[in-house]
């Protein structure tokens, strides 16, 4: 992964996003910087309210009406997307260059239009093709995303499709413009596990075939392990740790990442309490002082409540925003539960990664 110097396709610099909620201001994203390497799958992990969706919505100008980018830059193809004001500007990017697949496929599809129409519409609009050409391409896209008998199903409506099939259609629509970046915002959360496995597989296959960069938002660490090349962990409106997928799972450094991994039910032993992160996430209405996770952390030091930690380098690809990595901090080992994670997971899976005892 770290072998070739990756081109950066999109770069966010010190992005701050604020929302006006009634009379108050909520800071959803607090100075987040991140470079997305071209062709990779970057997974953004976090709980609801951590800012993972909001962060990526700034790339396509899809913040809710009461939200705005307060400061910072989003550099993509030589343009600063943070400066975009009009819908016209966004239309050159949204859907065309950066497409999004959302969680609920029923709300992304128009219920009164046929499936075929909705795919062809995009092809006609963005690629300027004729109706017949568009239909042909739409059918081949439908086949590509795994719809059997695509020609017949072209004229069906969304309600005639199952949840998993609808999500395949949403992916087909997203691909119709050959985007450079595909943002997948919890695309499988509403689907069953067996269908989830198929959709993830499909997204990975297509990203290789079409060569797009994937930003995958999820809260499920199992899914992350499957899809990601690079993982960014978000908490309280900031990225608090990022690195290659193996670095995050096998050598995590931030106490919040430790907490997330420790509370995995797979690591729970029957008859013993499952590890739980105490407390609740911080309110983003108030200014956060120091490390946002400090009040819930078992490893918080005095400085965590006073000063915000910078990113400390763990390896060339792995960085964590915690004072624990400061040379002056006492040496702390990650909790026992998540040490030798790989050995523990191997012990609960049979051959071929099937969940079950050996």
């Amino acid at each position: 992964m770290e072998d070739n110097k990756n081109n950066i396709i999109l770069s966010a610099k010190d992005v701050v996003v604020k929302f006006k909620v009634r009379e108050r201001t909520l800071t959803a994203i607090r100075r987040v910087s991140f470079d997305f390497p071209e062709g990779k799958v970057v997974a953004i992990v976090g709980e609801s309210g951590s800012g993972k969706s909001v962060f990526t919505k700034t790339f396509t100008g899809m913040l809710d009406i009461n939200g705005r980018i307060d400061s910072g830059e989003i550099l993509f193809e030589g343009q600063d997307l943070a400066k975009f004001k009009t819908e016209k500007e966004w239309l050159t990017i949204r859907g065309k260059k950066i497409a999004t697949v959302f969680q609920d496929p029923m709300t992304s599809l128009n219920p009164v239009r046929t499936i075929g129409y909705q795919i062809a519409e995009v092809i006609i609009k963005h690629q300027g093709k004729s109706k017949e050409e568009a239909k042909k391409e739409a059918i081949s896209l439908m086949e590509r995303v795994g719809i059997y008998d695509a020609e017949r199903r072209y004229d069906e409506y969304p309600f005639q499709y199952s949840g998993g099939m609808r999500q395949r259609i949403v992916i087909a629509i997203a691909l119709a413009c050959h985007p450079k970046i595909l943002i997948c915002d919890e695309p499988t959360t509403a689907l069953d596990v067996t269908i989830q496995a198929q959709i993830i597989h499909l997204i990975k296959d297509l990203s290789k075939e079409y060569g797009f960069t994937t930003i995958y938002i999820t809260h499920d660490l199992g899914v992350v392990a499957n899809v990601a090349d690079i993982v960014a962990v978000m908490y309280g409106g900031q990225i608090i740790e990022y690195g290659n997928v193996e670095e995050i799972f096998y050598n995590p450094k931030h106490p919040y990442t430790w907490g997330l991994l420790s509370s995995l039910p797979q690591l729970g032993e029957k008859g013993h309490e499952l590890f739980a992160i105490r407390g609740t996430p911080p309110s983003l209405f108030e200014e956060i002082k120091g490390d946002a996770f400090a009040p819930r952390s078992d490893y918080a030091m005095k400085i965590d409540f006073e000063e915000e930690p910078p990113f400390f380098k763990v390896s060339d690809t792995h960085f964590a925003k915690t004072w624990l990595l400061d040379p002056r901090a006492p040496k702390v080992d990650p909790p026992e539960t998540i040490q030798n994670l790989h050995e523990k997971m191997v012990a609960i899976t049979a051959k071929g990664g099937i969940y079950g005892e050996r």
Binding site: V193, A225, S263, L274, Y355, G356
Partner: protein, 320 residues
């Protein structure tokens, strides 16, 4: 496992639940048979639309059954029953719902939400006792008595689910049906709620029916598991047996689909899709049969023989 000497709390026999749409009949649950023992956590696992919630709802009489019977402590509780029995059932069997936002009355204070059951069943001598009961229930789920005057929207998802648990616990039930109680919650909050449910099980000897689609949670949380597919229970076994010796191909595909939070394991995994239409369904009609004590699988004679071979092989070579 010798199940015979354990007390059966709930038994479901040949249960069938149908829904009608313009006289078109849809059988949501087909010939379901299982027993839940006192003090255990029994999990019902399956995909959406498999009928797991329908079974739960028919136990608490929210869905009428079309065939078979449900016995609670040996008494029939489906179909027409006396007012007394109905009252007893509602008191002793409580349900925790998936969506804590939708299951609480948003115009009522937490105090009322938790007390509603007490009011309905007159389970308190005087106001002081009611208050004490509510306070105790709230404290037991980690909320404070001063939260009583607040409304559900003032709480986070995890806290709301605790209120949901508190209002079930205040009734001092024997049996709790938890329908995906943690699916709507965040990862770090899930563990808190699971620990809480386990605490009550130990302290009060509760029995749970736990409905879920996430096998990793089920494995940690339950004693026995029933796997349901398209309204049909295809396998029942104690948790460790099901994970060690899954027999039915659908159980297998479910286990296979669970993403393992380990990049090396996960990235080397192959994708297997369960397609019922590609299975050899020849032979006579299958039914749920006991292949080992306590381990049931949906099979006919031919499949039974196949599973027997497979099981022997797995038992002799535990490490594949």
């Amino acid at each position: 496992m010798a199940n015979d000497n354990r007390e059966v709390l709930l038994s479901v026999k040949h249960l069938e639940v149908s829904f009608y749409n313009n006289k078109k009949r849809f059988r949501a649950v087909k010939d379901a048979n299982f027993e839940i023992y006192k003090g255990e956590t029994f999990a019902l696992v399956g995909e959406s639309g498999s009928g797991k919630t329908t079974i739960a709802r028919s136990i608490i009489r929210l869905n009428p059954t079309s065939d078979g019977e449900i016995l609670y402590k040996g008494k029939k509780i489906n179909g027409p029953i006396s007012k007394e029995d109905q009252k007893d059932l509602v008191r002793n069997v409580q349900m925790i719902f998936q969506d804590p936002a939708a299951s609480l009355n948003e115009r009522a204070t937490i105090d009322y939400c938790v007390s509603e059951g007490l009011y309905n069943f007159n389970l308190y001598k005087d106001e002081a006792e009611r208050e004490a009961k509510v306070d105790r229930a709230l404290q037991s789920v980690g909320l404070l008595p001063e939260h009583k005057s607040r409304y559900p929207h003032e709480f986070s998802g995890g806290q709301r689910q605790r209120v949901g648990i508190a209002r079930a616990m205040v009734m001092e039930p024997e049996f709790i049906i938890a329908d995906e109680p943690i699916s709507a919650l965040d990862v770090s909050i899930r563990a808190q709620v699971l620990n809480l449910m386990n605490k009550f099980k130990e302290e009060r000897g509760l029995t749970y029916m736990f409905i879920a689609h996430d096998l990793s949670v089920v494995r940690y949380f339950s004693d026995r598991i029933a796997v349901i597919h398209k309204g049909r229970i295809v396998e029942i076994a104690p948790t460790d047996i099901l994970f060690r010796f899954p027999l039915h191909p659908y159980t297998h595909s479910l286990l296979q689909a669970v993403p393992i939070p380990d990049p090396r394991v996960e990235k080397s995994k192959e994708l297997v899709i369960y397609d019922e239409s590609k299975r050899d369904l020849s032979g006579e009609k299958p039914k749920l049969r006991e292949i080992r004590p306590g381990h049931f699988v949906f099979a006919n004679d031919r499949e039974m023989a196949e599973y027997e071979v497979k099981l022997k092989d797995m038992e002799q070579n535990p490490v594949q």
